[in-house]
Each structure stands twice: as structure tokens, then as C-alpha cells.
Symmetry: none
Subunit: 207 residues, 4 copies
DNA sequence: TATGAATGAGTTTTCATTCAT
DNA sequence: AATGAATGAAAACTCATTCAT
């Protein structure tokens, strides 16, 4: 907000230092949660001076946003690769494969995801998933438009919206919030069933 | 530390004052988000002394928890009433009715829900929905067990888990996060379709 | 300070209520120390309203002063009785008897003495012992003046001052601050020795 | 609570700043007593920001403890020097010299001693004298053990305990609590007499 | 006379941010 | 470019005291 008006000299910024800071932040977030995550902590964990942190990030919010963006980008990349690999399978199989991959990805980053999503008081701003979801949605849009050129844009948009919601929220639950006594594999099967049934029913309905 | 037990006199606490404080908190949360939500602000908004806030709530967390519980209870009540009213319809219709009711309820409380869920840094602790969802899930469990006494408990549990996830996450999106250009009614229809199709397919599969 | 100017209607004050308040204060002081000793606590412990406390004591300081005075008076009374009983013995024996009695008295009230003396931030104002000591010193003065009418007042005063200091500080240590592995009886003997030797030497010197 | 360990960066701490803070605290304590001794006042008196106080001391207690330790160390140092200087004199003379030195030291620091001992509500924790006394007692133990190797340890311990109690409490009275009309020199003489007589009597008794 | 709900000035403490070195 | 000592606004919370009932 106040940021754009602040004087900021043109300077060479070291990618390595930025990653060092971001890594330190992620480590602390996973280790202790947002409570007690201070910029001074971050500097100490990254083994640099606090002043250096502020050479690379205008303020704490910007730092957290950069962390969010980096995590989003990594996860997006991974999912897009999985989509590429699934393209040759038939829809029902592909959907299941992608869903498994999504749960895996969320599970791997569960700590950082849940820390950023549910502890950092930046509102939805700090959430990693919307960005990831937006990217993936883009692919789905193209895919559907390619397969069903007859559907109007708004309808495509609605399918994508519902589909993304279902896929991501189910995967998130299974990966991050699942209670220990529930069976991971069976939940994945059930959720994939829903997606498959739904896709098939809509394909039939609009055929 | 040395104080063995917090002093808390037995006393008559005024329901009106508690509601006044909770209302003020909700108003501030909706208006400005969690950032800047201080106990002093709350007292000022409620037009009482800061000491009074601490007469009724041991600390800020307890206050927020009370707000969460009140909102949860209200929403749960409303949904249970809707469930009662839907009991006589056939499944497909009932599901649609209930889903509409859920979206309505979430929409009505959207401000407080999203503020508590995504801005208060208490982790999932501050989220209203889990409590509501848990209550409703209880009903679904009973209902399914009644209609399908042959299903083992763990399977019922899985269906409920997936069903609740789908219903609540879809409804939450439509009510709270829907982008303005999307049509509310059509999204509700699509989401209800998913639920209906899924319920019918599982009924058929296990028949 | 501001107290004398405060309006205070002439009223009947119940001795029982005052003692109730003082007892409650003493109990809390012994139980939890000065930390956490609030007037509201005191009222709750005494099972009366906080307003009632302020009907009987202008402020917290006055309450504490009343407690100090009451404890002082009780201890003084007890010691004076012991002095009366020792009067017929010869000096060396009497001194030892009185010293034992002093240690006993301090030990009995150790909790309240140490709480008031070392935790209440009223400076020396809160200490019980000066008042007790002053009263006892008065007796000693009379006794010495009676036995040694030839000594000038200032000299009597000095003897009393030194004697009181030695007796009370030694007794206080033995009763309140003694480390557990030290033998109470032997310490009493040693301390009584000092007093006896000193008294005899001064008697001889001035003879 | 959730913060696993207090963040405390490894850093160069300026001795000058610490002393500045401690000096300011001592000044305020002497000037106004413990009442009204707030960390904010200390910062203002030291002419630094409140944050700086907390860079050097974790909390108010630690600050007060540091002040106590500094005062203790200074006084101990001084007394030990005096002991060294007295070692060549015969006992009666040495005792008197040391007692005078003790009264001097206490008198010099009377303000801070009485403030810390009788106003800071940390119990005996805040008292300067126990630490000083403990150090000096150590010397006496060694000295007695050297002169009277036949005495059992517990007996030495008792003599030291009684002797320290007498010396310190008498000196404290004379230095800090003496009423103005009493003659300092004569009180010192009387008190030194007690110590001398006692030492000689015990030497004779155990010879 | 007794009550106890309400008060708010005052306290400790935190931590994002600056800037002289 | 990097540093880290210093900062101080702001937050949570306490508790002696008042006063309407």
C-alpha cells in the first residue's frame, strides 16, 4: 500500500539470498507456526542481518507473499507435468491419476500450506491454493473448450468452477485434514468416483 | 506463574453485555478484518470499559472462541430445521433443498465466516464450519444407517466425510468466494447435480 | 496521604467483619504471597462484597497496615507475658528463656512475618517486628534503669538498641531463615550464649 | 506457550548501555522507591527507548536481579579487600576494623540496599545482603578451620552462622536504620564489644 | 448497610522497521 | 551491500476503586 511510494534504488538482488530468506521463513513456519514468526527470527534462522531482510523485501507482508508465490509456482509446475502425463489416457483414468497426484502434492506441502492458509492473518491473500487452482483451471478450460467446442463460455466456466472446487477441497481434506483413523486410499477412491460419475453424467447429458 | 489459579468470582453475568461485546466484535471483524481487532477497539465499539470485556472473557482468545461458538450454534440450528422440513421429500429433491438452504445460510453469515475462517490466526480453531459440519454429519450418519443398515460403519463414515466435504466446500465457494459475474442459481444447480448424481450412483452400486 | 481529607461518615463498624477481612488477607498472604493479593481476592476469600472491604478500610494500604498492627499486637502481648514469667529468675536463665520464647513466637508466625516483611512493597512500613521490638525495648529500658540507676539514659539506650538488634535478628534467622540442615536447639544455645556473655561482661565492666 | 524458546540473538551487548540502565534504575529506586518504578520510567531516566531495555534484559525481574548482583559484587569486593588488610592484626583489633568497614560499606550503599531489601516484592530474592554475607562467610569458615582444625564442621558452621547474623544485622541497623539522635561511633563500639567478648569467650570455652 | 458490575489509568512486553556505521 | 543496535507505537491485560442499586 504505502509501498509503491517508497524510494527503492535499482540494485542487484541475489537470488540465493532471497531463497535463503524464503527457506528460513518456511522452516520456521513449519516448525513453530505463525505465532512467533518475527522478522528478527527469520534473519537469525537465515543467518543474515535483519537489515538484509529489508533490503530484499519491503516489509513482512511482501516476504510472506513471495513465499506464497514460490510455493504456488512449485506446486503448479508439478501438477502441470502430471497433466501432461495423463493426457493420453481416457478421461476416467486420467481424472483418477490427476486426483492422486493432487493429494500427493498437497500432502507433501501440507505443513506450509496449512500454516500459510490457516495461520497467517492475511485473509485469503496468504492462501497458496487459489493461485495453483487458477493455473490448473486454465488448463481445464482449454481442454474442455477443445473437446466440447459447442459449449458456451459461461457454461464451461461453471463446470470448471465446480470441478476445481470439488477436486481441490476433497484433496485438501484427504491430504491435510484427514483424521488418522480414516483410510487414505479408500477416501481417494470415493472422491475420484464422484468426479468420474459427474464427468460421465455431464458428458451424457450434453451429448 | 506464581498465581495458582486465575481469580474468577462467581457472579451473575449479563447475557446482554456478552451479546453486546460479541456483536461489537463481529461488527469490527466484518468491517476491518482481524488486523486491528484489538480488545480496546472492541470495548470502544461496544461502548464499555476495557475492564468490562475482561470481566466477561478471560482473554482475547476466549472472546473469539465464544463468537465462533455463537455463530456455529445459530447456523447449526437453522440447518437442522431445514433438514426436518426436507425429510418428507424424496432424496434428489431433499438434497437440492438442503443445499440451497446451506448456501443461503453461509451467504447470510458470509462476512463473519470468512473473517473468522481466514483472518483470525488461530488455525482451524477459529473456523466456524467444522463445528456446524460435525453436527450435520451426525444427522447424515443416522439417516444413512437407517436407510442402509447393511453398510459397515467405516463405509458410512467415508460417505459422510466425502459428502460433507463436497457439500460444504461447494456451498462455501458459491456463497462466499463466488466471483460476481458467475450466476448463483446456475452454480447451485450444477453443484446439486453432482450431489444427486453421486448419491444415485452409490445407491445403485451398492444395491 | 490523601486519606485524611477523604470524607468518612461516623458509623458503627463491626469488629467481626474487620477480623474476617484481616483473617482472609493473612490466609491469602501465607498461601500465595503478595503476588496476586488483590482486594477482590480478599473480598472473595472473606466471602463478602468488595464494596464492604472499602467500607472498613480506606484503601489497600490501610488494610495491610491494620493486619500488620494486629499481628504486632498479638506477638507483643505474648512476649510481655513471657517477660512477666521470667522476672523471678536470675538474668542468665531469664535471657535464655525469653530468647526461646521469642524464637517460638517468630516461628509460629513465620509465614505472615516473612510475607509482610519481605514481599509487601511498603518499605519498612509493612514490617511487623519494629513495633514488637519497640514495645519490648520499653520493658528492657525500665528494667535496666531499675537495676542500674547510675547509668545515663543515652547509655541505657545504646545497650537496649544493641541488645534488641542482636536478640531479634538472631531469633529471626533461627526461626524464619534457618537452613533445614542446621540444628535449631544448638543455634538457640549459641545465640543465647552471646547474649549471656555480653550481659555479664557489661555488668562486670560497669560494676 | 507455543513459542518454544525465547528468541535472543547472539550479539555484542554494550557494557555501557547495561550500566546506564542499571544506574537509572538505582537512581529511581533511591529517589521514589519501588512504587512507580516502571520499565518505561527506567527507559526515560536512562534516556533510551523502552525497546532497548528489553534488548538487554528479558524482563523486569531480570533487570532487578542484575542490579542486585552488581551491588552485591561491589560490596563483596570491598569487604574482601578489607579482610586482606586486617589479616595481620590480632583478632580483637581485626574484628573491630572489619566491623567498621562493614558499617561504612552499608552506609555508602544504604539507599540501594534498603530499597532493594525492603521495597522490591521479590521476597528474599531481591536482597543484596545474603549474597554478600555468603561470600564473607566463606572466608570466615576457612579462617576458623585454619585456626581451630579440631572443631567439627557443623560447629564451625554454627559459629559462622551466628557470627554473620550478629555482625550483619548490627551493622545494618547502625548504618541504615539508626535513629538520628544515636551516636554512630558509640554504637559501633558497643557492637564490636559484643563480637569481641563472644569470640574470646568461645576461644576460652573450647580451648 | 452491603453489594458487585463497571471502570480505565497504568503496566509489561512485543516486534516491524529504520538508519548510522 | 550488509549489518544490527536502537526504536516506540501499540497490544494484552490487571486491579484498586467507585457508585448506583
Amino acid at each position: 500500500m504505502a509501498r509503491s511510494a517508497r524510494y527503492r534504488p535499482v540494485q542487484r538482488r541475489s537470488r540465493a539470498t532471497i531463497d535463503n530468506i524464503l527457506d528460513a521463513t518456511a522452516r520456521l513456519l513449519v516448525r513453530h507456526g505463525y505465532q512467533g514468526l518475527t522478522t528478527n527470527h527469520i534473519a537469525a534462522e537465515a543467518d543474515i542481518g535483519i537489515g538484509t531482510v529489508y533490503r530484499y523485501f519491503a516489509d513482512k507482508n511482501e516476504l510472506l507473499a513471495a513465499l506464497r508465490d514460490r510455493a504456488s509456482a512449485e506446486m503448479t509446475q508439478e501438477l502441470i507435468k502430471a497433466i501432461g502425463a495423463s493426457l493420453s489416457f481416457e478421461p476416467a483414468v486420467a481424472v483418477r491419476q490427476l486426483f492422486v497426484c493432487l493429494v500427493d502434492a498437497l500432502e507433501r506441502d501440507r505443513a506450509i500450506i496449512s500454516a500459510l492458509a490457516s495461520e497467517v492473518p492475511m485473509g485469503l491473500q496468504s492462501n497458496i491454493l487459489p493461485a495453483v487452482e487458477g493455473q490448473i483451471a486454465q488448463f481445464c478450460r482449454l481442454f474442455i473448450a477443445h473437446r466440447r467446442p459447442d459449449l458456451p463460455d459461461t457454461e464451461v466456466e461453471e463446470y470448471v468452477y465446480i470441478g476445481m472446487t470439488l477436486a481441490f477441497s476433497a484433496a485438501l481434506r484427504i491430504a491435510v485434514e484427514r483424521e488418522p483413523q480414516m483410510d487414505r486410499q479408500r477416501l481417494i477412491d470415493r472422491a475420484a468416483d464422484v468426479l468420474t460419475v459427474w464427468i460421465e453424467s455431464t458428458a451424457a447429458a450434453t451429448a
